[in-house]
């Protein structure tokens, strides 16, 4: 089992957003997170990646950890595409960047400063970073934003390869990614609006009775 | 060599500093000119060979 989530409650900025989330993603599996805007996909992914501590419940991730890619690209405008990738390869102890470059067709852009790329090119570069992390579980937040149709397909292939190699992925998205065997999870039932009123609150100042 | 008297250090160091700085300026200019010229040649060749 690659990622195992049990009755997780997540908060953002001190407010509980989700509660009672449980699911498991095995090796070779992808899970698509669905839910309307503001339902808490980003919040959940940040908790899975270990950036925000969970309010309650637990996340069992593999010991090598999770690779996270959020709404922001995390690129250095002054460094070239190759330098950006090589830096992350160095941080994660990867051996080379060529596989990542090939998977996202970055060969022609290698010498360009990342700041001069178009929105979709930047996104491709930031997705290529996932391949140099060598991590088994990917947590991706709307990875295909501003990608054109060809590049969405390229991304789907990259995810497919990752899964085939025994990886796992949790992907929040609003569009159809074209990943054949992927399970899908709608997080709406776990949001506050759909939860029963609970006697026990996460915020100690919210317990019953006026002050 | 003229006798510089008690101002020898001052005068000589003034001249030395000047020569040094001018040499650095010329050296840097030549170095950059060479580098740019070499790279430009390479770029023109690439361009020539690609068309």
């Amino acid at each position: 089992m690659s990622l195992d989530v049990q009755s997780l409650a997540c908060a953002r900025g001190g407010v509980r957003i989700l509660a009672g989330v449980s699911f498991a993603v095995a090796r070779g599996e992808a899970l698509i997170l669905r839910g309307p805007n503001g339902s808490g996909k980003t919040t959940l992914l940040r908790t899975l990646a270990g950036l925000t501590p969970p309010l309650s419940g637990k996340v069992a991730a593999p010991p090598e950890g999770v690779a996270y890619a959020g709404h922001a690209d995390g690129l250095k405008a002054q460094l070239s595409v190759a330098e950006n990738l090589a830096f992350w390869a160095g941080v994660f102890g990867a051996t080379g960047i060529s596989a990542a470059v090939d998977a996202f067709d970055l060969a022609e852009l290698l010498d360009r400063p990342a700041g001069n790329l178009s929105a979709g090119q930047k996104r491709r570069l930031s997705l290529a970073r996932l391949l140099v992390t060598g991590r088994p579980v990917w947590c991706l937040d709307e990875p295909t934003v501003s990608l054109d149709v060809d590049n969405v397909a390229r991304f789907a292939r990259a995810v497919g390869t990752h899964l085939a190699a025994g990886g796992a992925a949790v992907i929040a998205t609003h569009i159809d990614l074209g990943l054949p065997g992927a399970k899908s999870l709608d997080i709406t039932p776990f949001t506050r609006a759909h939860q029963p009123r609970r006697p026990h609150h996460d915020d100690p100042f919210l317990s019953e009775g006026a002050l | 060599m003229p006798d510089l008297g008690r101002y020898a250090t001052e005068v000589l160091s003034a001249y030395a500093v000047t020569f040094l700085l001018v040499a650095v300026l010329i050296g840097a200019s030549v170095w950059k000119a060479r580098k740019v010229l070499r790279q430009l040649r390479e770029a023109e060749n690439r361009r020539g060979s690609s068309t």
């Binding site: 950036l51 501590p53 999770v66 995390g74 690129l75 002054q78 830096f87 160095g90 941080v91 | -």
Partner: protein, 218 residues
């Protein structure tokens, strides 16, 4: 970690001349002070060690907000936090990169500026020694401050406010070394104290900074 250090140095150089700028700022503050104080050489000489130290401190201060804020804004900091690199190492490397791009050039340039302020020549050695020993503390403490304010947009002023009080002991002993050196008095005792502060800051700050980062990333 080496990769991170190299990246930071490279960024400092590309993003508009990292090394040169701190230096130029130091020069300008040193030049401005007499404009404010008035041209009498006697007074300027008397306050020279203080001015140089305050100038160095401000040059550090102005570049502090680059330490983490850029990585925060473009999302790299989140990615680094989920990487195998411990946040303590991250903070240490960042402080080192900051010192290399700011503190080190100041140490090298100080004697030249001392001439402008008519500092007596025997004081030069002490001035350099005090800056060499003291600026690492400035970078380390500053890194902690930068980690505290990393979530605040353009928190430059807030950062200065937090960090300045922490800089007081370093400034006190640093300027004291330089002043005593210039007057030919014994400057070893304050230098030893300054070294103590630096060691303390270097040893403790990465942990404090990492803790602050962790809170800010939540």
């Amino acid at each position: 970690m080496k990769g991170l250090l190299l990246r930071d140095l490279r960024l400092a150089i590309r993003a508009g001349g990292g090394f040169g700028l701190g230096l130029a700022f130091f020069l300008i503050v040193t030049v401005l002070m007499p404009f404010g104080i008035g041209p009498e050489t006697g007074i300027i000489t008397a306050v020279a060690p203080g001015i140089l130290w305050v100038g160095a401190l401000l040059a550090c201060l102005l570049s502090l907000d680059r330490i983490f804020a850029l990585d925060w804004e473009d999302g790299s900091l989140e990615l680094l936090a989920t990487s195998p690199l411990p946040l303590e190492a991250l903070a240490g490397v960042k402080a080192l990169a900051h010192w290399l791009t700011t503190g080190l050039p100041l140490v090298a340039a100080a004697p030249v500026l001392a001439v402008l302020l008519n500092l007596p020549v025997p004081g030069f050695g002490w001035l350099i020694a005090s800056l060499a020993v003291g600026t690492p503390a400035l970078s380390a403490i500053g890194t902690f401050g930068a980690a505290l304010t990393v979530g605040v947009k353009r928190g430059g002023l807030l950062l200065s406010l937090l960090v300045l009080p922490l800089y007081v002991p370093t400034l006190l002993f640093g300027a004291e070394v330089a002043r005593r050196g210039a007057q030919g008095l014994d400057a070893l005792t304050p230098l030893a104290l300054l070294a103590g502060i630096s060691l303390l800051a270097l040893a403790a700050m990465p942990f404090a900074a990492a803790a602050a980062l962790r809170v800010n990333l939540r």
